[in-house]
């Protein structure tokens, strides 16, 4: 699992870490039931506070991505495929609304937005 933190980024540390772990789970780089590093070893390796990694695991657990068993550790939750896809969709939807809001502020309308997206897709296909 790769976690790279950007210091000085606007996003709080815990958020960066959380998103990267969550991404790894969604991309199935971390398998169901796989054991995650302890909050202490994660903190030591990333040079962040143990309170930060604790918060990350707590929030990931609330969101349903991991399960923590006292005395044993934290594990990737066993999701059924539907829930995973739903979470994935939800993330994209969030980003898309952000893009739409930004477009509005900048005065870019729907048509322009569509054509911009077309161009991006074409570039990707090449």
């Amino acid at each position: 699992m790769k976690i790279i933190i950007r210091n000085g980024s606007e996003q709080p540390l815990y958020q960066q870490i959380k998103e990267q772990i969550r991404g790894a789970i969604l991309r199935q780089e971390l398998k169901e039931g796989e054991k995650l590093p302890s909050i202490r070893s994660l903190a030591n390796d990333l040079h962040v506070s143990v309170l930060t990694t604790k918060r990350v695991y707590e929030e990931l657990e609330t969101e349903g991505f991991i399960v923590t068993i006292v005395g044993k550790g934290s594990f990737v939750a066993s999701e059924n495929m539907e829930m995973l896809s739903e979470a994935k969709r939800h993330l994209i939807e969030k980003k898309l609304s952000e893009v739409w809001q930004m477009a509005n502020t900048l005065g870019i309308n729907k048509e322009e937005l569509y054509s911009m997206m077309e161009i991006i897709f074409e570039e990707d296909d090449e």
């Binding site: 000085g8 709080p12 540390l13 302890s38 202490r40 070893s41 143990v50 309170l51």
Partner: protein, 284 residues
């Protein structure tokens, strides 16, 4: 996270200096850095919670038990490293150990010898011949050889070179890998804390100024630079410390996100623990 140490309204007067109603807790599983300049009260606080200075008022509770009532059980679980060592200089390492080790019910000779080997110390060396760094290593060897649950250290790294300091920080991180351990150490070398601290407590003139998670502290503070025209009554309030010259201003804010939103055309940079400490101390 449980509290392994609770200090409540601790008051201690020492000549012209005094600790004023000190209240803080140490969480289990955390390394808590205790920072402050010389004379701020770090050593006084640590000595008082260890019982070396009898307190005037307040309560000190370790693992849920009051220090005064359960001294023996509590001290068995504390590893201590004091700045001045307080070793009998004429004794050898072996002799000194033979005086201290039997006091602890869980003394682990193999762990001790492990550390001695690792630090390349010689047991029949006289303590007076040790350098400061070796002295600290010896103190650590003893402090970590009786399965202590909490390690309390007063300025363990002062006067030591960066290599040894780094080594010590590694040892602390290793120590923490086991469940249920905690570390509390005072220092004015804040760069050590950048690496290992989970919680930070800032003390100045006998009072606690800050007490929070290191990451949150660093994230909510920032160095801000910009033109003097941007400083007015409302923006001034966003700063803990502010320095204005003919060329512009530079300050430390404790509300980095607000500055981000409300002040345009400023440079916002990540700050270090040292800058934060200085900002609060100078203004205080």
């Amino acid at each position: 996270m449980k509290d392994v140490l609770e200090v409540n309204n601790l008051k201690k007067e020492l000549g012209s200096f005094s600790l004023e109603r000190l209240t803080f807790t140490l969480k289990e599983g955390c390394i808590t850095g205790f920072i402050g300049v010389n004379g701020s009260g770090k050593t006084t606080t640590i000595k008082t919670i260890l019982g070396l200075y009898p307190k005037d008022e307040g309560s000190i509770t370790f693992f849920g038990k009051e220090l005064e009532k359960s001294e023996y059980t509590i001290k068995n679980r504390i590893g201590v490293v004091l700045d001045e060592g307080y070793f009998y200089e004429e004794m050898t390492l072996k002799e000194m150990k033979s005086v201290i080790a039997p006091a602890y019910s869980d003394w682990d000779e193999s762990v001790f010898l492990n550390y001695i080997n690792r630090f390349k110390l010689k047991l029949n060396q006289k303590i007076s011949t040790l350098s400061k760094g070796m002295r600290m290593k010896f103190a650590i060897s003893i402090a970590l050889s009786h399965h202590a649950d909490i390690l309390i250290m007063d300025e363990p790294t002062s006067g030591l070179d960066p290599l040894i300091r780094d080594e010590l920080m590694e040892i602390l991180l290793n120590f923490m890998e086991e469940e249920g351990k905690s570390v509390f150490f005072s220092t004015h070398i804040t760069s050590d804390l950048d690496k290992v601290a989970d919680m930070l407590i800032l003390i100045d003139k006998g009072r606690i100024i800050l007490n929070e998670s290191k990451d949150e502290l660093i994230e909510r503070h920032a160095v801000v630079k910009g033109d003097n025209s941007l400083i007015n009554e409302s923006t001034r309030k966003l700063f803990v410390s502010l320095r204005q010259t003919a060329f512009g201003f530079e300050g430390i804010t404790d509300k980095a996100d607000v500055v981000c939103e409300e002040m345009n055309d400023v440079i916002i940079e990540k700050t270090s623990i040292e800058n934060v400490m200085l900002a609060y101390i100078k203004e205080g």
